[in-house]
């Protein structure tokens, strides 16, 4: 009956019909190209970071490049400084960041800036787990920004959908993030992308050469351009256009009454703890910097709750034998907003860390060893 049907019903309106052997050849060819593509690209595309390098702001979603930078930084520096825009240096130039001043204090290039804008603990955990696999057996300074616990929204706890930064990096299914409502298909794609470097590489191409668009949308914006000519094999330089050397009070920001989420209930704190576990499991020497949060910006009630929360965080770090520092609050005029220091603030923070016993006995000692 099948043969009769076969004769009755034409296969298709084209000749594209492969036998099993031909399929095997096609799959081998594709797999080879899909595997070799990203590796080959690493040789073709210029990537030669200077001292104080940080990923360009516009490439914050380029996890493939982050992974490449990680690999490079692990081979050049003994200590990586990871965290969100506070580490990246949101309002300062790259030679005014924490890692720059740490290097200045150390009188040698030991600290690499691996901060990226918007990397809340949920995303940072995913970034290090899937794209920071090279970070193992070294020193890691990881910053915890309490801002991510300053409201249910920052803590990703609202039931209403909230489009937060880097959704591809957070746990897609478990634990459940209440405000994350992307479709199953999108979540599954995000989960697959983490394990197949080819997909993060195609994202890299989009971000770097196609203005963060897929090819179809890019050709709509550039209808008469050849899409292949957009690929220049050159990465954009790190830009400093975000500098604003004025304090939060000069900017006119008022004091706020933050609705802190308790550590026991906080999703972001839970993600941060998991990240520490991950780094330790990869044999890294971990040093945690809590803050420095702009406590001058807190209204009295909020200040009280914050102190309690900070003390609970410290207790947990002590109980788990994790080296840490809760730096003294910087002078008010050295903050740009609730969490970002200005250049002199970073300099002061670096000095504080160099005086910190725990820092000396872990990071500096390990580096000297």
């Amino acid at each position: 009956m099948k043969d009769a049907n076969e004769a009755k019903i034409p296969f298709s309106s084209n000749n594209i019909r492969l036998s099993a052997r031909e399929w095997i050849i096609a799959v081998i060819v594709c797999s080879a190209l899909l595997y070799l593509g990203p590796a080959l690209w690493g040789h073709l595309e210029k990537f030669d970071p200077s001292a104080d390098y940080r990923l360009p702001y516009t490439l914050g979603n380029d996890y493939w490049l982050y992974s490449r930078y990680c690999r490079w930084a692990c081979s050049k520096y003994d200590t990586l400084v990871v965290g969100d825009s506070v580490i990246w240096g949101h309002y300062v130039s790259e030679d005014n960041t924490l890692s720059h001043y740490l290097n200045q204090n150390a009188a040698q290039d030991r600290f690499a800036n691996l901060g990226v804008d918007g990397f809340h603990p949920g995303a940072l955990g995913g970034l290090l787990r899937y794209y920071g696999r090279d970070i193992s057996g070294g020193n890691v300074i990881i910053q915890f920004n309490p801002l991510w616990m300053s409201s249910a929204k920052h803590d990703l706890q609202t039931e209403k959908e909230f489009h937060f930064n880097h959704p591809k990096l957070v746990p897609q299914f478990f634990p459940k993030i209440p405000c994350y409502k992307d479709s199953f298909s999108k979540r599954f794609s995000a989960a697959v992308e983490r394990y197949v470097p080819f997909f993060s590489w195609t994202s890299h191409l989009r971000i770097v050469y196609y203005e963060n668009m897929d090819l179809p949308n890019w050709t709509l914006e550039h209808p008469y351009e050849n899409p292949l000519s957009a690929v220049t094999f050159e990465l954009p330089a790190s830009e400093d256009n975000l500098q604003e050397h004025i304090s939060w009070t000069e900017k006119g920001i008022a004091q706020e009454d933050f609705q802190w989420v308790e550590p026991a209930q906080s999703l972001q704190w839970r993600f941060f703890r998991r990240t520490i576990d991950l780094l330790k499991a990869r044999n890294n020497t971990v040093f945690v910097v809590v803050g420095p949060f702009n406590e001058h910006m807190l209204k009295p009630e909020s200040y009280k709750t914050y102190q309690k929360m900070k003390s609970e965080i410290e207790t947990w770090l002590q109980q788990n034998n994790i080296a840490y520092s809760v730096p003294q609050v910087l002078p008010s005029e050295l903050y740009r907003d609730a969490s970002h220091p200005l250049g002199p603030g970073y300099a002061m923070l670096a000095k504080q860390l160099f005086k910190n016993q725990s820092f000396k006995s872990t990071i500096l000692k390990a580096g000297n060893d």
């Binding site: 009956m1 099948k2 049907n5 076969e6 009755k8 019903i9 034409p10 296969f11 298709s12 309106s13 084209n14 000749n15 594209i16 019909r17 492969l18 036998s19 099993a20 031909e22 399929w23 050849i25 096609a26 060819v29 594709c30 190209l33 899909l34 199953f184 298909s185 599954f188 794609s189 697959v192 080819f198 997909f199 195609t202 191409l205 989009r206 897929d214 090819l215 179809p216 949308n217 050709t219 709509l220 209808p223 008469y224 899409p227």
Partner: protein, 458 residues
């Protein structure tokens, strides 16, 4: 749960190995039925009530027909019920809207409330498929299906459930009862069909939609070049979208050892409108031919009768596509085109002297023009587009050249495929290269968003 999404991939990964084990046992069809109902319920669980009802009714009708002398009455029950379901769910809004317009034009202040229910996805497809079973049985063209499960699995078969092809029971039901194991060739053929369909949908149709949707959303803002190019690209978008869906449906079914009918056969190479309809949505065209055109008298009623029957069939076909006057006009325009090309084809000059390529381009131009009515949001928009195409001046269309190049490559491939150059595409390295090229293109350049299929709305 569409074919080009991850949920479908997961669904199929769970379904398929179990299907392979169970196929040919008494659990094979129940498993297929359960999977098909699950697939349909993923769109909306309430849809199951409707498909269950339709299935049960037609199964019962044919069972009764087998034992009854009132066969015609039972056939009428089936047809009235099926058309009633379709009319209620698909056309109630359209009828209400037109009645209200009529009441308003008669200065009657009363208006009939708009029905608030949804159009179940795929209803037009499975109802036509189910009807063909009762009609074919009535005509004595096939045996009664004794198993309710087999019949339900035939109606709801998930690869073709939501957008066809509209299979005939006499083709599909016997295949579902077969016990041979799925062969390696079934799997590789299925994969070949699937990858072509996936490329058509994701790399081509969804891409072209970006330009077309912009222009057709506000046609008054664009000049002639943009409107012409958008219409040209829509012509290909709908082909890639629908034939891509069908290719994937046939590919999935083929992997299951089932052979679904060819639904598209390079329609834009047609040399006449009759030829076009023999190549476009073949399962629907042949359905209308067998169950509407021929019962009306076909071409046995003289020239006027033939054209009347063609006109009725084409208008109903237009209305089948959607409950709007634009679809009715689209059907009517095609009917008028059929009259003209049929007469032209009877003249020795057109038949023998006009080069094939000219005929193909003429048919393509006509079909493209007719698509304006199909795609436009309203008759007003369609008219606006047509008048602006001929009256507005030049303005840069900002149409992606890359999209035009892709379309041109496919068109040239089709021309070559139906020419003496076909042997080139039979060469294994060429075929392997094309498949690898499509996979790599999809992997690197595919759009990041997922879009539904146009024909799901019908």
């Amino acid at each position: 749960m569409l074919f080009h999404t991850w949920p479908f991939a997961l669904f199929f990964l769970v379904f398929y190995p179990i299907y392979l084990v169970l196929k040919g046992t008494r659990f094979g069809l129940p498993w297929l039925l359960a999977a098909s109902y699950f697939f349909y319920a993923c769109f909306n669980p309430l849809y199951l009530i409707l498909i269950g009802y339709s299935t049960l009714l037609d199964y019962t009708v044919v069972t009764r027909m087998a034992k009854s002398t009132h066969r015609k009455m039972w056939l009428s029950v089936s047809i009235i019920n099926n058309i009633g379901l379709l009319g209620f769910f698909k056309y109630a809004g359209f009828v209400t809207e037109n009645l209200n317009a009529l009441l308003s034009s008669l200065n009657i202040s009363y208006s009939i409330p708009e029905p608030g229910f949804l159009l179940p996805i795929g209803i037009s497809f499975y109802i036509f498929q189910s009807m063909s079973y009762t009609i074919d049985y009535y005509r004595g063209n096939m045996e009664r299906e004794k198993s309710l499960i087999a019949y339900a699995a035939f109606v709801s078969l998930f690869p073709r459930l939501v957008a066809g092809p509209i299979e005939r029971a006499k083709n599909l039901l016997p295949q579902m009862h077969e016990t041979p194991r799925v062969s390696v060739q079934d799997v590789t053929d299925g994969l070949s069909l699937f990858i072509v369909g996936l490329f058509k949908k994701v790399a081509l149709a969804d891409y072209l939609a970006l330009y077309v949707d912009n222009i057709y959303a506000a046609p008054g803002q664009y000049q002639s070049p943009a409107l012409i190019l958008a219409t040209f690209l829509f012509c290909w978008q709908i082909y890639f979208d629908f034939s891509g869906y069908t290719d994937m449906a046939r590919g999935v079914a083929r992997m299951m050892g089932l052979n679904l009918m060819l639904n598209f056969n390079n329609p834009y190479l047609a040399t006449g409108l009759g030829d076009f309809w023999a190549r476009w949505h073949i399962s629907l065209s042949s359905w209308f031919k067998d169950y509407v055109y021929i019962p009306l008298g076909g071409n046995r009623k003289g020239t006027i009768g033939t054209y009347r029957n063609m006109f009725i069939t084409m208008v109903i076909s237009g209305l089948w596509h959607g409950a709007a006057w634009t679809f009715v006009i689209w059907g009517a325009v095609h009917a008028l085109g059929r009259f003209v090309t049929r007469e032209l084809e009877r003249t020795p000059f057109y038949r023998d002297k006009v080069p094939k390529l000219v005929k193909q381009l003429l048919v393509f131009a006509f079909v493209t023009f007719a698509w304006i009515f199909f795609r436009a949001e309203s008759i007003g928009d369609a008219w606006l587009i047509i008048t602006r195409i001929f009256s507005s001046g030049w303005a840069n269309p900002y149409c992606p050249v890359w999209a035009l190049i892709l379309v041109l490559i496919v068109w040239l491939y089709q021309f070559a495929h139906e020419s003496r150059l076909r042997w080139i595409f039979d060469l294994a390295p060429v075929r392997i290269g094309l498949v690898a090229g499509m996979i790599l293109y999809l992997a690197v350049f595919a759009p990041s968003s997922e879009q539904g299929f146009i024909y799901l709305q019908f």
